[in-house]
């Protein structure tokens, strides 16, 4: 866990926005939305892992189990 995951997410965000614009200009709105959804799912996958780590840390700190 470091700062690099934040940069990764930012990079994916920028690229997905470029994908969306390019596909929308070519008249493929459905593909553009699908692409955005795929990017969102990818980022969610990373974020969910980090959230899991956070919850584990909280449990460890407060001795909740």
């Amino acid at each position: 866990m470091g700062i690099d995951v934040l940069f990764k997410i930012a990079g994916v965000g920028i690229l997905i926005s470029v994908f969306h614009t390019a596909l929308k200009q070519a008249g493929k709105e459905d593909m553009a939305h699908l692409c955005t959804l795929a990017g969102f799912a990818l980022v969610l996958l990373w974020v969910v892992q980090l959230l899991g780590q956070l919850f584990n840390t909280v449990q460890d700190v407060f001795k909740l189990f």
Binding site: G11, V12, L15, V18, F19, A22, L23, A26, K28
Partner: protein
């Protein structure tokens, strides 16, 4: 570390290349259709007014042009000259052999239906069928130009960006 950087550069270059080659297919198509139209109009005048035999007419109609369309007509002409093929069979064979043509199914069907009338009907009928094919090809050319405008930019962007996306995901 260096291995990662070199791999990333290779991935980005490859995906950019794929994107640009897909874009060039779309950019090439209107150009080839335009060449086909000019070849067919030359063929029309060669059939109607000069009345040369078909193999010679097919090789003469590409005068001044270069590219895959020219090769296609030359191949058809050579096949007609050498083998004992009908014009339809020769054109089908040349269409299959010319790998550099980026024609879609629509143009291929038009060419096949045109080759069925080629050399088997009289001059007026051939003239009529050529005019019909001209109209169809003009329509297809307009459609191809619109698609070219839309898709060329998109494929270039997508090529570069997908390479970057893969690199970011794998990093």
């Amino acid at each position: 570390m260096w291995l990662k950087i070199i791999g990333s550069i290779i991935i980005i270059f490859t995906s950019t290349y794929i994107g640009f080659s897909l874009a060039s297919r779309y950019a090439e198509r209107p150009h080839q259709i335009r060449q086909l139209i000019s070849c067919l109009s030359a063929l029309k005048s060669l059939i109607n007014y000069v009345a040369v035999p078909l193999p010679e007419a097919l090789s003469q109609c590409t005068c001044g042009l270069v590219g895959p369309v020219t090769d296609f007509f030359h191949k058809t002409s050579i096949l007609l000259h050498n083998g004992r093929l009908t014009p339809q069979a020769a054109m089908d064979q040349a269409l299959k052999d010319s790998k550099q043509l980026v024609f879609t199914q629509a143009e291929r069907e038009i060419l096949t239906s045109f080759s069925a009338t080629l050399g088997s009907m009289d001059r007026e009928e051939q003239h009529k069928s050529l005019e019909l094919i001209h109209e169809q090809l003009f329509r297809i050319q307009k459609d191809a130009e619109i698609r070219c405008e839309q898709n060329v930019k998109m494929y270039r962007y997508l090529g570069v960006c997908s390479g970057l996306a893969i690199v970011i995901i794998l990093l």
